[in-house]
């Protein structure tokens, strides 16, 4: 997925970008509205993350302009204001969703996914691997023509594994990616989801290998 991040706080922008690319997304960063307009005109983005208070204007005016220009790219607003009336006016202006700062990256990811799913149709980006087709936006897996709907954690686990094929992930790493820091889970919880995914992938030429003492890896039997 290709994201445009409009945020004037460079540090925060850098943190968001690095986290997004960890999840396998491309992120362009604009620190000003004028830059954001140029970026938006030049490239096709799947999603725009928009801060509201920017040095050269109000993000809401960008939003209005963006919508007036019949641009359908979904927008998620990053706002520091938490009051209900502000949130409502944001949605009225054509934002697809909003996240209140400071935010949990897992929540931001979940919101991005939900917004992309709602706007799906324009950009289908399935990942093909052997005889398995994985649609991370729609959240389903096609194994030899059979469509399987994935639960959210199964989906995220598969996404992590698919985005870095052949790479070994320790249980501990997977816990961090799958659960919030606040979820009280043991590393064994990962085994449950690995088990479920293996069942879904049964009969395909893609499998999750266990490397004793190291972790898991997604392999494709060529």
């Amino acid at each position: 997925m290709k994201y445009l991040l409009v945020e004037d706080n460079i540090e925060l922008a850098r943190a968001i970008c690095s986290r997004m690319s960890l999840d396998g997304h491309l992120v362009d960063h604009a620190a000003l509205i004028s830059e954001a307009v140029d970026y938006a005109n030049a490239g096709e983005y799947d999603l725009i993350l928009l801060d509201i208070m920017l040095p050269d204007g109000d993000g809401r005016s960008f939003l209005k302009q963006h919508r007036a220009g019949k641009n359908n790219t979904p927008v998620i607003v990053l706002t520091a204001r938490s009051q209900v009336s502000d949130r409502i006016s944001m949605l009225d202006l054509g934002a697809d969703d909003y996240v209140t700062k400071p935010f949990d990256h897992a929540e931001l990811q979940a919101r991005c996914r939900a917004v992309l799913r709602r706007n799906a149709g324009s950009a289908q980006s399935s990942i093909q691997m052997g005889n398995v087709e994985f649609d991370p936006v729609g959240g389903h897996l096609t194994v030899k023509g059979n469509v399987i709907n994935l639960r959210n954690r199964e989906l995220r686990l598969l996404e992590v594994l698919m985005n870095a094929r052949g790479q070994v992930f320790s249980k501990h790493k997977l816990v961090d990616r799958l659960f919030s820091y606040d979820d009280d889970v043991s590393e064994n919880a990962v085994e449950v989801y690995i088990g479920r995914l293996r069942k879904h992938l049964d009969g395909s030429d893609v499998q999750i290998k266990t490397l004793r003492g190291l972790g898991y890896r997604l392999d494709h039997d060529a």
Binding site: N9, E11, L12, A15, I16, S18, R19, L22, M53, L78, A80, R81, S82, Q83, V84, S85, D86, I88, D97, T100, K101, P102, F103, D104, H105, A106, E107, A110, R111, R113, A114, R151, N152, R153, H172, K173, D176, R177, S180, Y181, D182, D183, D184
Partner: protein, 463 residues
Amino acid sequence: MSKSKPCADLAIGLIMTRDVTVSRSLRNRLAMILTGGAAVLAIVLFFVVRGYAAQIAQQGQDNILSASAASILDSAVLRDGQVELDFPYAALSMLSTDADDRVFYAIYEDGALLSGYAGLDIPNPFRSLTYDGATVRVATASRTLIGANVPRRVSVSVAQTQDALSGTLNRISTNVAVFGAGFFALATALSFWATSTTIGQLRRLTTSVTRRGPQDLSPFTKPVPTEMAPLVGSLNNLMSRLDQSLKQSEDFIAEAAHRVRTPLATVRSYAEATFQRVENPENRDALRSMMRAIDESSRAAGQLLDHAMVTFRAENLERSDVDLNDLLRDLVQRMTPIADMRDVDLILDATAPAHLHGDPILLQNALRNLLDNALKYAPADSRIMVRVQTIPSLSVDVSDEGRGFRLGEIDMLADRFVRGSDSGGQIGSGLGLTIAKDVAAAHGGRLILTNTPRGGACATLQF
């Protein structure tokens, strides 16, 4: 929801007189002055007209009496030095009245009673006196007869009781009194009409001030009477200043939130990114506490602002027709990504028509807090049910499959800053249920906390 209308009117009444030192009513004062004036005018009118009528009636009687006296005097002649007087019949018949007034006469010759009733002689031409137990009017005429040797002065007094006259006067008085009373009644009615039209202008202004929502601080543009223009002018002035200071404080809050929350977001993002890389359990615990603290402070700040907003709006609801089903659908859609993160299914059962005359912002806030709570305490891979019911009354209940409320605490949980003793590591401010309770109360409903038969928590907003 017409049931809530009298309540609203009562509230307007309360707002109008609360905290206001009241002196006497303007309307009563005006009405009093106008009707008092009308009463004085009516009484003066009565006496003036009656007095004038009495004077005219008296003049009529006096004319007849003096004519009668003159005609008697006319017949007086001097014959052989003796005064002779032929009493003309007409002199008395002209005095007959409907009321059978009695007539007295006296004829004097040089001051000595020649004939008639004694005690009627008077020097001036007309006089009223009491004679024979009745008030009589006396007219006197005199004439000097020139005889052979000495002139003789003959005077004639004719008196008449005043029964017919007072009868006439009574009739006139009654008529004048009726007229005066009519005048008074009409003037009173007019004064009430005048005061209520005048006060009506004020009342219309009051109503349009009271009907405004808490956010509406725009100036009055409707035309007002000249006398009220200064008042409305200062009111507009006050409101524009209030609007300005509200905008300033809103801008300030926005700016402050931006300044505080953006660096917090940066810190949190870095902490999270580091958390992904660090292996050392001690460092991980430190980062975890850091993120918790940030989440807690941001959540508490948001909840406190929301709670302040709810308290402010609850006093003056901005009501409109709210479709609870639509509102819940939006909320559920918005919360679904969070639920998905933990594989929790958020199920909305909103099939019954659920319209409510209420404040949409407050209702949304209350329901969001209930959903927030359910999401926090629902175990992974479980279900949260949101159900709209219309029987016995309109209610929304949110139930999860978690551990439920602790029975001993259930009554205190909705109090401010009270958190369940088993809330464990969950982040919270203890304001969520308070907000829901306050919003329910502001809409004449209540918040009911129970446990489901399967042990989960169930929060119901009942209207």
